[in-house]
């Protein structure tokens, strides 16, 4: 693919970039370009021989056309009605958006959000720029959750699953009466268990506690597979505190990770991304970051994570070996060099004895020098370094051992208290595997009379080895609180339907000293009741509980009044304090402690003395990806179609293997392999992942839902069932496995080769050392070229964008932001296979270097708004035009669909809608942004630089009789970016950020040799190697 690399000859970094395993080998043979544009599909479903069009049919059925209200004559336009308010709310004006501060409830990070609402409908969720932690960022899942609000598969009433057909709908009054009787009986005898997922809401926990206090044997069990339980357990062993510390990444000069995806979906990724970008920024001005210094980031990891792909040095290790390597680093420091306080402890040295770097390196297939180098650099950067564990990439007992070692390393190097805050900014870990095991044991013995399950889907998420399903059948009454009739809800006696996170009240304790509120932004669409409101109603029905409390809203306000107002209100009246809190979305601040924690060395020694031995053979790691996480968003089309940041696969999971392993097994991408762990096995298509250890097989969780809804059912295979029952935690990493070829083929819909720019130099990079010598390093030789075209006159605004490749982590939040803002349709797996995805913004991921240890660059790519745009000159109907502010306009109503423009676009950013994917029925159409035309089939579309946002701000500026202020216009991608990699603004304003950043010596235009003069400037990636 990289045959034309000579174009890059003027640049000093003459690396070969490639996009997929196999590309490197392809370079040997004759270059075969990918088909740029496929010809028109003659019939729906006739793409690459794929005929399964059920999902697409669904989308079409869901898109059953809007019947236009009566037509008076065939030449007359259809009659449309205007339905005004019957009583207009004072602060709602048609066409003027409202913004509400709230908090995201999609994971326990609880990022601050601003929800944009039009005419009472939330249409977009963005990060709250004022929130002290998330600072305006919001991940792909958080932003995509708005689509779930309008999911037609959501429950609309409570359900009694035992009854068949339509009669299974329940009535709240009947259910409350029936459950009230059952519950009042439990006050004297019998047992009640409430199983919930990890939640950061203190008021919810208080409510559950109060609710359970009325029962003789009531207990709250918290469990979530992706909670930070390993960190909590390790904290319990090392520091006698079951809590997760906060990482202070912006104080670190050296970061060592063992696979925790802290820039992707582990811990508090948005806050961490923000902090990480601060220490990784280089620039010529103070405004852009530190001048010639950046933190070094080294990662030992099994599956390549988003975080690992940003490492300066990434060493692939077998899943489970992370512990040994961490101990080897400790061995080198303590025994090899006699450094740190631990060196005087003979007993501890004895425990470390077996982990000499030379021994571990030989076992793990690394070089001992690599381990020693890391140990030396960690020591050099002591009190300014940070060691992070494996996070979701090594869940289980091995993960606990790793976290204990990581705690020791951080404490011994003096990092604890500086880059790790475990005393003030902590989040308690409630999730408990041992509690869950106890619950399952009790259930099996028939000791549980009533079980409440909230916001958790154990039948899907827990390993078969635990036997939850069998245990559930022995519970007398199962009550599930869920928004969907999911796998677990189907087995329940009662399903108490819950609303979406945008329809409820709640709160979040992000950290000690920082509280956020969740406020509803729409009146509940259906007859659902929140878990909290149900607890109140059931408590009242059982008698003697919550007397006089009308709603959870009231309960929440009362709790805040007594518990938080005294501390946070600053003397204001409660009403004023509450109003202010709802306006800002949070109260309190992030405090810093600077205190380190005392190690309980006795417990640590006892724990490390009995580590399991290394297993040989294949190891499976089951990990969450960016889009699907634990599978809760399976019915979200945006997330299903979001290409994985690393593998670029959509609509499927797979068994990722290294290319050496694939060769050994004789499999190619898409060949189905059988992966067996113990008694369980799964059949998955193989995917060849560069940079994966030869003995590791990586499987993505969250797929294989059977009762997610019409979009998410039967997408991929459930791999969570492979998990093993560990003594301390659920084992999802380092699972001993076997793998074999089945002979079947299942094609993966991957976008990694789509829209290829045929090996031309589109990304540029340099080492920090080269950059320090010459800021133009890696980016030489692009002087102004002559042009035949007349120059444009930009006397007003001139909109431009700059993207820092050094800051972009590839997290893909911008892709979803763009999709949500610009009404971009979902096309389904078969059309993605046919290269027909509609994303206006894509993130190209390029590998360079060796296939077993590649370096990665992520490059967001969208319309470059060229000054001499090749698309404009070929359009026969002037549907694409250049405007006086530098924007390349696409006029849908002029476009006749010749697709000449797309063929002439060197950046492959134009999208053609072959079918009417956008014509969706209520409630799905409510998610559309009314400020952007919903495109029909047959027209070309592409990035508009969020023209509707530009117009909105210009409109506001005109109201005030002034020009647009720099930073006032933010494109959707820029707003969502947690690392501020994207800058947008007016280049005619010489002081604007985009003017400054575009002039950076690192700035380059992609394919500048074509002289199309793009409006997007990219900044060279700098590696601290």
């Amino acid at each position: 693919m990289a045959s034309n690399l000579d174009l890059n000859a003027s640049d000093e970094s003459n690396k070969t970039y490639w996009r997929a395993a196999g590309d490197l080998e392809d370079q040997v043979g004759p270059h075969q370009p990918e088909p740029e544009f496929l010809s028109s599909p003659t019939r729906e479903g006739e793409v690459d021989g794929l005929s399964d069009s059920s999902r697409r049919t669904f989308m079409k059925i869901m898109g059953a056309s809007f019947a236009l209200l009566g037509t008076s004559a065939c030449t007359r336009r259809p009659v449309e009605k205007i339905v005004p308010f019957h009583r207009k709310p004072e602060d709602v004006t048609l066409g003027v958006p409202q913004y509400f501060a709230s908090s995201c409830v999609e994971c326990s990070s609880g990022c601050g959000t601003v929800v944009k609402s039009r005419e009472g409908r939330p249409i977009k969720i963005e990060g709250n720029p004022k929130h002290p932690l998330s600072q305006g960022g919001l991940c792909a899942r958080g932003q995509a959750s708005v689509l779930n609000l309008y999911d037609p598969d959501r429950l609309r009433t409570p359900v009694l699953p035992a009854r068949k057909g339509a009669s299974n709908e329940g009535k709240w009054a009947d259910i409350d009466a029936a459950l009230g009787t059952t519950l009042s009986g439990l006050k004297q005898s019998g047992s009640l268990r409430v199983l919930t997922s990890e939640s950061a809401s203190p008021t919810r926990r208080k409510l559950i506690k109060e609710f359970l206090s009325a029962f003789k044997d009531g207990k709250h069990v918290v469990y979530e597979p992706l909670a930070l339980e390993e960190v909590g357990l390790a904290g319990e062993i090392t520091f006698s505190s079951r809590s997760a510390p906060r990482l202070i990444l912006d104080k670190a000069d050296y970061i060592l990770s063992f696979g925790a995806d802290f820039l992707g979906n582990w811990g508090d990724p948005i806050t961490y991304s923000k902090a990480f970008s601060k220490v990784r920024r280089v620039g010529t001005t103070a405004e852009q970051g530190r001048t010639k210094k950046m933190a070094k980031f080294v990662a030992f990891e099994s599956m390549m994570t988003v975080t690992g792909s940003n490492a300066d040095l990434r060493l692939p290790v077998k899943s489970g070996d992370e512990v040994r390597i961490a101990l080897a680093i400790l061995h080198e420091l303590v025994i090899g060099q006699g450094k740190t306080a631990l060196a005087s402890d003979a007993e501890f040295k004895k425990i470390l004895g077996g982990y000499a770097p030379s021994v571990v390196a030989a076992e793990c297939g690394l070089s001992a020098d690599a381990i020693r180098d890391v140990a030396n650099q960690l020591y050099e950067n002591r009190t300014r370094g940070l060691v992070v564990g494996a996070g979701h990439n090594l869940k289980g007992d091995a993960g606990v051992a790793l976290e204990v070692t990581v705690n020791l390393l951080n404490a011994a190097l003096g990092n604890d208290g500086v880059t790790v805050d475990g005393t003030v900014n902590v989040s308690p870990v409630h999730s408990s595997w041992s509690d869950l095991q106890q619950l399952v044991a009790d259930m099996k013995l028939g000791k549980v009379d009533v079980l409440f399950i909230q916001d958790f889907n154990p039948i899907f998420a827990l390993p078969k080895a635990l036997g939850f399903e069998e245990a559930l059948s022995k519970v007398k009454k199962v009550v599930v609180f869920s928004a969907y009739l999911d796998e677990t809800a189907q087995k329940a006696d009662y399903v108490l339907s819950t609303p979406h996170g945008l329809e409820v009240w709640g709160d979040v304790e992000n950290n000690t000293g920082l509280l956020s509120v969740v406020q509803p932004t729409i009146r509940p669409l259906y007859s659902n009741r929140s878990f909290e409101d149900s607890l109140l109603a059931l408590g009242q029905a059982a008698g003697g509980l919550f007397a006089g409390v009308a709603s959870y809203h009231e309960y929440l306000k009362n709790t805040w009044k007594t518990q938080y107002a005294p501390q946070y209100s600053g003397g204001k009246s409660f009403d004023l304090f509450w109003e202010d809190t709802l306006r800002d979305g949070f109260v309190g601040k992030v405090a810093t402690s600077g205190k380190s924690r005392a190690i309980n060395l006795g417990a640590v020694k006892g724990f490390l003395g009995q580590l399991a031995k290394r297993e040989s053979g294949f190891a499976v790691v089951v990990y969450p990806n960016m889009a699907q996480y634990d599978g809760r968003h399976a019915n979200n089309g945006w997330l299903q179609e979001l290409p994985d940041p690393i593998t670029k696969v959509t609509w499927d999971n797979y068994a990722a293997v290294s290319s050496a392993t694939a060769k050994k097994l004789g499999v190619k991408e898409g060949d189905v392999v059988k992966v067996a762990v113990g008694a369980e096995s799964v059949d998955l298509p193989a995917y060849i992942q560069p940079g994966l250890h030869d003995e590791t097989i990586a499987l993505q969780m969250g797929y294989g839902r059977t009762a997610a809804g019409r979009v998410g059912n039967a997408v991929g295979v459930n791999v969570q069932h492979l998990g093993q029952v560990g003594t301390r935690a659920l084992q999802l990493g380092a699972l001993k496995a076997t793998i074999s070829k089945t002979g079947r083929i299942s094609k993966l819909a991957t976008t990694q080769k789509h829209h290829s720019i045929e090996g031309r130099a589109v990304v540029k990079e340099a080492s920090l050392a080269a950059y320090a010598k010459d800021p133009h390093a890696g980016n030489k030789g692009h002087e102004e070229d002559l042009t035949l075209w007349p120059k444009h006159d930009y006397s007003g605004y001139r909109w431009m964008m700059a993207i820092d490749l050094n800051a972009c982590t590839g997290c893909s939040a911008c892709v979803i932001a763009c999709q949500s803002e610009n009404n971009i349709p979902v096309v389904g797996k078969e059309f993605v296979s046919g290269s027909r995805e509609m994303h206006w913004l894509r993130i190209d991921r390029y590998y360079s270097g060796r296939a077993d240890q590649p370096e990665v660059i992520h490059q967001p790519m969208m319309c470059q708004h060229c000054e001499n745009a090749p698309c404009e000159t070929v359009c026969p109907v002037l549907a694409t035009m250049h405007d006086h502010e530098g924007i390349n306009q696409q006029v849908y109503n002029r476009c006749v669909g010749t697709r000449y423009c797309a063929n002439n676009c060197p950046y492959k950013v134009r999208r053609f809608n072959w079918f009417t994917f956008t014509d969706v029925a209520t409630p799905q159409n409510l998610a559309y942004n009314p400020e952007v035309t919903v495109r029909t089939r047959g027209v070309m579309e592409k990035c508009t630089f969020c023209i509707q946002r530009v117009m909105e701000v210009k409109d506001k500026a005109k109201d005030h009789g002034r020009k647009v202020i720099d930073g006032e216009v933010k494109t959707a991608c820029q707003q969502s970016c947690p690392t501020d990699a994207i800058v947008f603004g007016d280049i005619n304003d010489k002081a604007s950020r985009v003017s400054v950043v575009s002039k950076d010596p690192r700035g380059f235009h992609v394919l500048h040799e074509l002289n199309v003069k793009p409006s997007v400037t990219y900044l060279t990636k700098i590696r601290n190697t």
Binding site: K81, R87, T93
Partner: protein, 217 residues
């Protein structure tokens, strides 16, 4: 092989050709006529489709602008409250009608309909008169705050008992003003220089931007 036979065959063939040509010619004329008729109908139909000028549908309640805006001189903005705040002028909500009609002319059967709607909470479904295509993003606020009178686009509503679409509201009609070629515009606006002079083919003295994204996005 017989030469004569071959010739006769040829002649027969030629004859056939001639007659077919004749028919073809007739068909061509007929075809052209049919095409013209169809095209003519289509063009006139399309013109009428695209331009709804003169459209005056019957409304569920025969509200008279002539009475309210004309005779009683109620300002447009008393009812169309969004016009200065939003791109939509907004059709008044029922509670605005009831501001007066809770007291005024309460015995009218039409007012009874409004009262009923107000009390039941079921909004009145008015028929849209000025119906722009969905890809047009016209902004009332920008035009009204610039000092363009409602009548410039909506005609003399004060004299309309039944509201009708007075102007073409076509793209060309919009551009006339944006290029400063509409003599009906007040001089203060028509003579103002455009904020961002740009592009080709726009006469000097243009008053508003004419790039595609001004109205389409």
């Amino acid at each position: 092989m017989n030469v004569t036979d071959n010739n006769s065959d040829n002649k027969a063939g030629n004859k056939n050709d001639v007659s077919q040509k004749g028919i073809a010619k007739k068909y061509k004329i007929l075809g052209a006529l049919v095409f013209l008729i169809i095209a003519g109908t289509a063009v006139s139909a399309l013109r009428r489709t695209a331009v709804n000028q003169g459209y005056a549908p019957t409304q569920p309640i025969p509200f008279s602008h002539k009475l309210h805006a004309g005779q009683y001189n109620i300002p447009c903005m008393y009812c169309h409250v969004g016009v200065e705040k939003s791109r939509h002028a907004t059709i008044p909500s029922t509670n605005i009608c009831m501001n007066c009609h809770s007291q005024v002319k309460t015995d009218s059967p039409h007012i009874a309909k409004i009262r009923e709607a107000f009390e039941s909470g079921k909004p009145i479904e008015w028929v849209k008169v000025h119906d722009m295509p969905d890809h047009v993003y016209f902004n009332h606020k920008r035009h009204v705050t610039k000092g363009i009178a409602c009548e410039t686009c909506h005609g003399d509503v004060k004299k309309m008992a039944v509201v009708k679409q007075a102007k073409a509201l076509s793209m060309g009609w919009c551009l006339d003003c944006h290029r400063g070629q509409n003599k009906e515009l007040p001089a203060s606006i028509a003579k103002a220089e455009v904020e961002n002079p740009h592009g080709t083919g726009i006469p000097k003295g243009g008053v508003a931007p004419v790039s595609c994204y001004t109205c389409h996005r």
